[in-house]
Amino acid sequence: MSAALPAFLAAARTQLGEFRREPGTLLMLVTAPFFAVILLSVTEHGGRADLAAYALLAPAVMTSVGMAVMEAGESIFRDRASGVLEAIMTTPAPLAAVLSGRVAAITAVSLLGIGECWLVGALGFGVVVAVAHPLVFALTLAAAAAGIAATGVLLAAVFVVGRNVRSFQNSLTFPLYLLGGAMVPVAFLPWGFEALSRLFFLSWATDLLRDSLSPGPVAAFWPRLGAVLGLSAVLFAAGFWLAHRLVRRVRRTGTAGFA
């Protein structure tokens, strides 16, 4: 019997427990409403009620991406420092399954940010954003969550495999928000940046999410959803490959910072 699924679920449960025991890890959910206030105040002050959906969607996406980048990296570092990572490698469970389980739980919890931001709009500004195309919204959100989790798995592996890469962890968030079109659609980015951002699943996902909130028809939904899923799959594959390489390197050198 494969240990992958039980390991995935157990890692997810462990991560949920960690959120409960250490509320500091939920910092991003505390800051989400502030970003909603900041961004919504700009569109409201500019008299652009039509952009309110943008301003409420952006902080939710930023929270989700931010938590995947920060927490996924933290959790694997903690596991390494406590010797848990080494012990995991002695079990039949693939490391990628354990990592994915953790990141899946992180991403699921981060989606609470959507509700928070929606409440900020409704209670703070009297702005209620309706979801014009619920099915498009739900499907895109699910695909985006998968992509965000894939980003988390990949980065967690990168942080452990690469030396000194971790200093960049804190620096990754805003570049990803910008290239992912979290607030401003990437079509507004200059020259090469837009092309680059099209390789990142998030730019397709945020465009689709914005379209799902506006009453007009959603053009080319399935191909665009396909782009989100396809690019996310590439990230997953890269993350799993790197996790596999990490395991091989630890076995070869015997030095992944263990005792």
């Binding site: 952009l51 570049p175 910008l178």
Partner: protein, 261 residues
């Protein structure tokens, strides 16, 4: 005391070298800073309003100085972790001085990254700055960093006391300033109560001074805002000292002066 301060400043410098190498600073932190400022500035592009774009650019760029000096909060708790804090059994005022000396480098790097972001991105978002304006802006960015550092220390002193929430205070304070302090929209957008609240933060006055200086404001007006920045900073320093005193008293009572986590 001078020797202690010199020693502390040196240990702060070695900490900085742990946080950044020249490479991670340039390709990590500076890239993030530029992306963050572009992120907010493009909001103006989205709204199709060049004036708003420039307003957002200046606000976001100057607040990098606030952002970075808030990191003094985190680096203050490194002192707790390294256990050296227990050596500073002097009066709370002495402790404030030592903690202030320890994390001074954030003022320097904050001024640097903020100024680079403002001056480098200005041409791309249609903001023309003459030499005099640029020089004045950099000087006032330094004032912003310096005075906001007091807020960072205050958050740091709270972080020492409530270690589990060490990252929360600085983040909340920074985001509160960013939301209501005239960074993205003029302070006047908010209800009067929030306007008063925002006026308590030195960086809000520092930013106002920069906006006046590059927007053709009069010298006395600029100096008045700078003065407010220093005045409010003094208030925050007093709160930091009180908080450290409280931390110390509590630590003595509970015997946790060793702070070993």
């Amino acid at each position: 005391m001078i020797a202690v301060l010199r020693q502390t400043m040196w240990s702060g410098w070695t900490d900085l070298r742990l946080v950044y190498t020249p490479t991670t600073w340039a390709f990590g932190w500076m890239v993030r800073v530029l992306c963050q400022v572009v992120f907010y500035s493009t909001l103006g592009t989205l709204l199709g309003d060049p004036d708003r774009t420039r307003f957002l650019l200046v606000g976001a760029a100057v607040f990098i100085a606030a952002n970075e000096t808030m990191m003094a909060s985190a680096s203050t708790t490194w002192e707790r972790m390294s256990g050296t804090l227990s050596l500073l059994a002097a009066a709370p005022a002495g402790m404030v001085a030592v903690l202030a000396a320890r994390s001074w480098f954030w003022i320097a790097t904050g001024t640097l990254s903020s100024s680079i972001a403002l001056l480098a991105l200005a041409p791309f978002f249609g903001l023309r700055l003459g030499f005099g304006e640029s020089a004045a802006a950099v000087a006032l960015v330094f004032v912003t960093a310096l005075t906001n550092y007091a807020v960072g220390l205050c958050c740091g002193s709270l972080a020492l006391r409530f270690h589990g929430l060490r990252n929360v205070f600085a983040n909340i304070a920074l985001l509160t300033m960013t939301a209501f302090g005239g960074v993205m929209v003029p302070v006047a957008f908010w209800p009067a109560g929030l306007q008063w609240f925002a006026a308590a933060f030195p960086a809000v006055h520092g930013l106002a001074a920069v906006r006046l200086a590059i927007g053709g404001g009069s010298a006395p007006a600029v100096l008045a805002e700078a003065g407010f920045a220093f005045a409010t900073a003094a208030g925050w320093l007093a709160v930091a000292a009180a908080s450290l005193w409280w931390f110390q008293a509590n630590a003595r009572r509970t015997g946790s002066i060793d702070f070993g986590d």
